[in-house]
């Protein structure tokens, strides 16, 4: 039987390198994809993934299994790091800005356009769409990661989808 995340975490805390490696390999993919889908930048996604697990190494005491899964906790840490990067990194905002989308209207409706449309959402809606629609995270887990009630996740998700539909509709009509 596979050890649980918490068992691996406990092993990691006691200095078991195999437990750390197993936990990293199990959880790095979702963290990396979340960061990538939030920023559209592979370098930032790589940095965020590394920082999340460094934080786990040094601040694991803050993880409370009674509050939710380790996956949600990791999304929460990644989210804070991503939002900090988004605030600092002007090129992400430029990349995701409405002008760029208009510039791209002549392109075909490809995955890249959808990705750009997602990236153009304000972060507060983007993170709900990324977690619930792209990462297949449950509303409960998303609420824990985003540190807000489930109802807020639902409303942000609806609003985000609606904005996304408008952006994609504009694209396809041009």
């Amino acid at each position: 039987m596979q050890p649980t995340d918490y068992e691996l975490l406990a092993g990691m805390l006691s200095g078991d390198e195999e437990a750390f490696t197993a936990l990293y390999r199990r959880r790095q993919g979702p963290v990396y994809r979340f960061a990538l889908q939030m920023t559209g930048n592979v370098v930032i996604a790589e940095d965020v993934t590394q920082e999340v697990f460094m934080a786990l190494l040094s601040k694991t005491a803050r993880y409370d299994p009674a509050r939710g899964s380790l996956a949600s906790f990791l999304y929460g840490v990644a989210r804070n790091l991503v939002l900090r990067r988004i605030e600092k990194t002007a090129e992400i905002e430029d990349y995701a800005g409405p002008e760029d989308i208009l510039d791209d209207l002549t392109r075909r409706e490809t995955m890249e356009n959808v990705r750009r449309a997602v990236l153009s959402l304000p972060p507060v809606y983007r993170e709900a769409v990324v977690l619930c629609d792209l990462q297949d995270t449950s509303y409960e887990e998303a609420a824990l990661a985003l540190d807000c009630p489930i109802g807020t996740v639902r409303s942000r998700l609806n609003r985000g989808r609606s904005m996304l539909a408008q952006k994609l509709a504009v694209r396809s009509s041009v």
Binding site: Q28, Y32, E46
Partner: protein, 159 residues
């Protein structure tokens, strides 16, 4: 739109952090646990040895016990009473005070008196009505002058 989002999710599903990230994290893990275990173990072992076994100082570790001088008690001449035994000390384990200390090279063990509330700060339970009582503690101060670890001392007279 749902189909488009699903297609995007599917196209990203196999994306992962590059192997260099795992390599860097593994190196950080090894460094952290190599550094974390050794100084506390060494400090605790050295402190215990100096207090109870009085072994010679190890060459690689220079620990000095600094305790306030105890005034000599007047001894009654021709006293019939048996000599009082030295006080017996019961000590706790060492509790780390630094999260990520530099490698331990040498240090001093300082005997100090603290309010019992200090025990709470390292996770030792203390009842509310005893928080203002004074307790004795040994503070391990590293070569850089920072307090690295602390243990609490209970001194009992043996009659």
């Amino acid at each position: 739109m749902k189909e488009l989002l699903k297609a995007l999710a599917d196209s990203d599903r196999k994306k992962e952090a590059p192997p260099e990230v795992e390599t860097r994290l593994t190196a950080a893990f090894r460094e952290k646990y190599k550094r974390r275990v050794w100084p506390y173990f060494a400090a605790a072992a050295a402190g215990m040895a100096l207090f109870f076994v009085r072994v010679p100082k190890p060459q690689t570790m220079e620990i000095t016990i600094v305790t306030p001088p105890v005034p000599a008690l007047p001894v009654a001449k021709r006293a019939i009473r048996p000599k009082p035994r030295p006080p017996q000390e019961i000590v706790t384990e060492f509790y780390p005070l630094m999260e990520d200390p530099p490698p331990f090279e040498r240090g001093e063990l300082l005997r100090v008196s603290l309010p019992a509330a200090a025990m709470r700060s390292v996770g030792v339970p203390v009842s509310e009505d005893r928080l203002t009582e004074t307790v004795q503690a040994d503070v391990l101060v590293g070569q850089e002058g920072l307090a690295r670890a602390i243990r609490f001392v209970n001194t009992k007279e043996i009659k």
